[in-house]
């Protein structure tokens, strides 16, 4: 549940979600669920020339299983905290 908790804390921040099909979408993290399904607001596509259809959609829902990366704002990342939490989570299961 680590990343679920972690992403919940990032709600309201700008993130870029890169999907497994290479599409990258930037937006404000609106919510996330236990399957890491992601809802973004004020979304815009990172590479607009390649994906014109998604020019600007206000809200979007991204299925957790198709996410490759979630790019985080540097100020939203406490690396030490994340390391410790990850180690603990993996150890304790």
């Amino acid at each position: 549940m680590l990343f679920f908790s972690y992403f919940k804390d990032l709600v309201g921040r700008e993130v870029t979600v890169e999907l497994k099909n290479d599409l990258a979408i930037r937006g404000t993290l609106h919510s996330v669920d236990q399957y890491l399904n992601i809802k973004l607001e004020n979304t815009r596509v990172v590479d607009q020339e390649k994906y014109p259809h998604l020019l600007s959609v206000r809200n979007c829902f991204i299925r957790g299983s198709v996410v490759r990366y979630v790019q985080l704002p540097p100020e939203g990342v406490d690396i030490e905290l994340l390391h410790d939490a990850t180690r603990r989570e993996a150890r304790d299961g």
Binding site: L19, K20, N21, L23, I25, D33, Y35, N37, K39, T43, P52, H53, L54, L55, S56, V57, R58, N59, C60, F61, I62, R63, G64, S65, V66, A90, R91, G93
Partner: protein, 232 residues
């Protein structure tokens, strides 16, 4: 289950009836939206039809042609969004991306707008255009709800990770599966599984751990001179 869009023709009754669902497996109808046109890929809109959103899939049935209908399982819907930007598409709609079996042909829409042969399995984008745009937000929310009902089956199985982080844990976990005495475990190295090579059956972490043993043979000469009285 078929990934991607497929034809759907199973309707109740004779007329433009409701889709036949898999009630035995718990599939239920969540929402019905009449007056919806469907746009597959870059093709022209097909209108008019009725949208049926179930707990498992999205079904669109043409009101005009009883044989025409399409469905896609929520497991295949990668993303959905409300599209109101006229530059993206002239009419406000629900935009969805569909994950197909074969992801190599992203750009080929699988259909020639000239001829009628349509390969549904290659459709990666689908728009649903309601005649009443004020319904878009509630449609979006229902899509969200139903998507959440359909997590990947694999995700639910991940109860045990079987990751190893300490020698103590190793003794507990491997005693039963290995059949090898614990004391032998630490000192022997299986020649069939050399260092750093995992053949899929062998636990790589265990191989690495075996290298970190405090064996006097690996100690520096200086340390041993200084540490003659120290216990290990």
């Amino acid at each position: 289950m078929v990934m991607g869009l497929r034809r759907f023709t199973e309707r109740i009754g004779e007329g433009a009836g409701e889709p036949i669902l898999d009630a035995d497996n718990g599939e239920e109808l969540m929402h019905v939206q009449p007056g919806v046109a469907i746009v597959l890929g870059n093709r022209a809109p097909e209108s008019v039809g009725t949208l049926y959103i179930t707990t498992k899939q999205v079904v669109w049935l043409s009101d005009v042609e009883k044989e025409r209908g399409y469905a896609v399982n929520f497991l295949s819907v990668s993303l959905h969004a409300v599209s109101r930007d006229p530059e993206a598409y002239p009419s406000p709609c629900i935009y969805t991306q569909i994950e197909t079996e074969d992801d190599d042909d992203e750009d080929s829409e699988g259909s020639d707008s000239e001829c009628n042969t349509l390969d549904l399995s290659k459709i990666t984008e689908m728009r649903l255009v309601p005649s009443d745009p004020s319904q878009l937000d509630s449609l979006f929310n229902i899509f969200c709800e139903c998507a959440e009902l359909n997590p990947d089956p694999n995700e639910e199985i991940e109860e045990e990770h079987n990751w190893i982080f300490s020698a103590d844990q190793m003794e507990d976990d491997n005693a039963a599966t290995d059949g090898v005495d614990d004391s032998e475990c630490l000192l022997s190295e299986n020649p069939a599984n050399p260092i750093g090579y995992s053949n899929g059956n062998h636990d790589l972490a265990r191989t690495v751990l075996e290298l970190q043993i405090n064996d006097q043979r690996f100690e520096d000469a200086e340390e041993m001179d200084r540490d003659t009285n120290g216990g290990h």
